[in-house]
Every structure is written in structure tokens, then in C-alpha cells.
Symmetry: C2
């Protein structure tokens, strides 16, 4: 938590009892559709759910996006499903008016207490150092896509689709970090896995509607830039997955996610 | 549906009104722990939820395994979250006594109505034809692991761990099908993604406890053997993902899944 940081301010929830929490969704995390980004909504849900969980760390998180949300007041209803010895599971539903926008089931644990073997069979992204990489947006703001004002990106080369020439390859590696300085915690990672442009933009897509997002949080990230890898391998009748990995500045995998999305 | 087939009989639910369905879990789908396999429990949940959904096909399915289930009576409580023009979303909770064992959120659609571009960037598994491949169990039954009596497996070579010599590589390709003949539908695929031994057995693990399983159903499978690919790439402090793909006899990807599991 960083006092006054937009991520902390804009995901803040107030508990009003009975598992109900109030939140105010802002217009500072909007993506291609102009609606608040799914990862941002997920972070709001996790902050509410975190208050009811006896363990500090979201570990495996599944979000189903039922309807688009809009900036303004929202309620988050939380339910504790089970509290076990090392893992607790709960559900959060983000509701605006009478309609549910997002349903999250998440298991929390204490990742610092995890003990077991480690074997990492893939490598972090291969990227030039952030200070030698390209700002794909060239420092410009994109009207309506306010999430790009919150997050900085760095790429080896300018993405083809951003120059109007999609390169046909729905795989990308890049750096990300908060634009206003703040360490990335697990709640931020759950938002960041959804904070880059869809990999299918390089296939000429104009966007993707995410139906479902599952995030595995693997470790607390070290401070600094995050190395990211996004890929779509199977686009079938417009349906596709997007796999996403976040590696921290020590070269440790800290988050892994998969979305199910429909091509717009 | 095949009259009298164990998969149909053992996933049958009876609706008793108010979104409540009764089921009887059998001991014919037990895995390493002796408890009913997670994929089997998921199929029971999806059959109950399918009755409440206006579309026939489970498309994206997320299951959280809260507690082990046991053979015997169970209730499945279903809730329709949203019915949209092409996608409907619901929740199912499998409960035994007073305790919840599985919570599923799933979106249904009509996959035959899906329209959009297709681009497949990876290949089906490379396997010898099933009739030239090895039955890894050598036709034997494994006491307690009744799911292996329901499903046939074929591999290029006998897996190392089954001979007491784990080969150190948590990736596997193999054929699967129902042992008693029955076409594989989408409900069967949602079970089958969880019906092979964990990929981490080749690392010398004695098993894995699945906390969460997300399945993307991509297309109705053609009849015949199913070519499967399982892999774990990131084992960190005992936590790991298992990715699973099922390709049908035409060479089409029909299901893709990821689990989050803890090493036993």
C-alpha cells in the first residue's frame, strides 16, 4: 500500500457488515472498450475478499466477467466458503445496481510459508534492459484508454499493430510497471495480467472480450520492472485463450494467468 | 448419452426444485487418494447446471475443489447468474451433508453457432497409432484407482514413474478414451482433462492435490481416440500448474485446461 497511489485509492473498499463492501470504480483504468478493465475489477474484488480471509495472499483466483462495469458506485458481496489450515477459499461478487458484473472465486494462503520443491522449466522473457527498450506509446496518452496512463510499457521493438501493420504473431514480451512509483504486490499482479493489449491485436483484431480469467500467484515480486510474456496459440471460431506470465526483477516467475476471450 | 454407460449413470442428477439436484457419487471414478476424481465431480456439477442453462455446451468452466468428496449421496445447488444472447453463466455447488466439496462457475453457449477466424499455432501430439502404442498399465487394474478401469490409455513408451524410475520430465503425450465404448462429448472432456496421472509423477511426486481447474471447451470432438498432452513447467515451493490439451481424431483441439495443484 502506498498512500494516495491510484491503485490503492481506486481499489479501496469499505465494509458495511454482512459481507457487503462498498467501492467506487473510477475512470482511471479503462481499456479498449471505455469500460473499467477486468483486472482492475478483479483487484477490487480481491481487496474486499482479503478482509474476510485469514491468510494474506491471493494464491489462485478465478474471475468470470458477467457484464461490463461502469465507473461509479459498486458493492462487493463476499462469502467465506472454507477456512482450512493453510488455504482459505472465498467468493466475491461485484454488483452495480441490481446487476452482477464480476464473480470471483479465490483461494488465499501465506505464500511465504509455502514449502516444497522448485523446478522451473522455462525462462524469463528475453528483453533488452528497460532503459534501452522502446516506449511503445512514445510517451503519448491514448484517449479513453486511461489504464495506459497508470502503467508504463517497454518493448524491444514497437509492436506492429500500433503502427497499423499487425505482424501476424500473437506472442509478445515486454516490461510493465506502475507509472506512479509503487511496489507491485500480489493484488497488483492480479490486475497487471490483464493490463496489456491483447496478443491477438497482432492478428489484426480490434479487441477481445474476456469471459473468464484465472490467475495463479506464485511469489511476492521483488521491486522493479516486471518482465511479461503474452501469447495466444489457439484461435478457433473467434474463441481463444491468452496466456500471460509475469517475472520479477530477480528473474522469478511471480504470476501466471490464462484468459478465455472472444474476438471482437 | 449412452444408456447404461457408467459416465452417464454416475453423473446423473435429479432436479428437486429451487435449483437443487440430487446425485449419487459412485466409487467407480476414484483416483490416487481413493476419493472420487475432481473431473468426475465437475461433470456431475455441469450436468446439473446444464439443465438450467438455455445453451447446450459448457464453454468455459472453472472449478474450485474445496474439500474431498466421498462416494454416496450429494446435492448440487445451481444458480443462473446471467442469461445473455449467446452466452449464459451459472454456478453449481456440490454439497455432501453440510459441507461444500466443489464450487463451479461455468459459461455455456452453442459451440456450433460460433463464428469467427481460426488460427491454430501449435500441433496435435506426436504419437504412434493407438493400436501400435503401449497400454501403460499392461491391462492390469490398480487397486483403489477405479478411474483407470473406466478409461483406456495408450503411450508411446511405458512411463518411467510406473516402472519406479521417474524420468525427470513432467511432460507427457498419450491417447485416452472410454474403456466401455461411448462417444466423448463436452461433459466427458471436462472430466477427461483431469483423468490422467499428474505430469509431476515423472518428477518422483507421489501425487498432487488440485485446488482449482479451469477448462476451455473448444469444439465437439469427433468419435475415436483422443490425443492428449499434459505438462507442468513451473513447480515453485510445491505449487504448480498442470496444462492439459485434448485433440480429437480429426486433429482438432477440443479442450484445453489448466490446474493449480500442490505437490503431495
Amino acid at each position: 500500500m502506498t498512500a494516495g497511489h491510484p491503485f490503492d485509492t481506486d481499489t479501496e473498499v469499505a465494509s458495511v457488515g454482512g459481507g457487503r463492501h462498498t467501492a467506487t470504480l473510477t475512470d482511471r483504468w479503462t481499456a479498449l472498450t471505455g469500460a473499467p478493465n477486468g483486472g482492475y475489477l478483479l483487484a477490487v474484488c480481491l481487496r474486499a475478499l482479503g478482509r474476510a480471509m485469514p491468510y494474506p495472499d491471493p494464491m489462485v483466483v478465478s474471475a468470470t466477467f458477467v457484464r461490463a462495469a461502469r465507473p461509479g458506485a459498486a458493492d462487493v458481496h463476499t462469502e467465506v466458503v472454507r477456512t482450512g489450515k493453510r488455504v482459505a477459499t472465498g467468493q466475491a461478487r461485484l454488483v452495480q445496481g441490481d446487476t452482477e458484473a464480476v464473480r470471483v472465486v479465490a483461494s488465499f494462503s501465506d505464500l511465504r510459508e509455502a514449502a516444497g520443491p522448485t523446478m522451473v522449466l522455462d525462462r524469463p522473457p528475453t528483453l533488452p534492459p528497460p532503459e534501452k527498450a522502446v516506449d511503445p506509446l512514445g510517451g503519448a496518452s491514448i484517449p479513453g484508454i486511461t489504464i495506459a496512463d497508470r502503467i508504463e510499457y517497454r518493448t524491444a521493438d514497437k509492436p506492429g499493430w500500433l503502427s497499423g501493420a499487425p505482424n501476424g504473431d500473437p506472442r509478445a514480451e515486454f516490461w510493465m510497471r506502475f507509472r506512479e512509483p509503487r511496489d507491485h504486490d500480489l493484488f497488483a499482479l492480479a490486475m497487471l495480467v490483464d493490463a496489456a493489449s491483447p496478443a491477438v491485436m497482432e492478428l489484426g483484431a480490434s479487441g477481445a472480450a474476456t469471459l473468464q480469467l484465472t490467475v495463479h500467484l506464485r511469489a511476492h515480486p521483488a521491486p522493479g520492472w516486471l518482465a511479461c510474456r503474452a501469447a495466444t496459440r489457439y484461435l478457433i471460431d473467434g474463441h481463444h485463450e491468452e496466456d500471460f506470465e509475469i517475472w520479477d526483477s530477480r528473474g522469478a516467475l511471480v504470476a501466471q494467468s490464462r484468459q478465455f476471450a472472444l474476438l471482437r
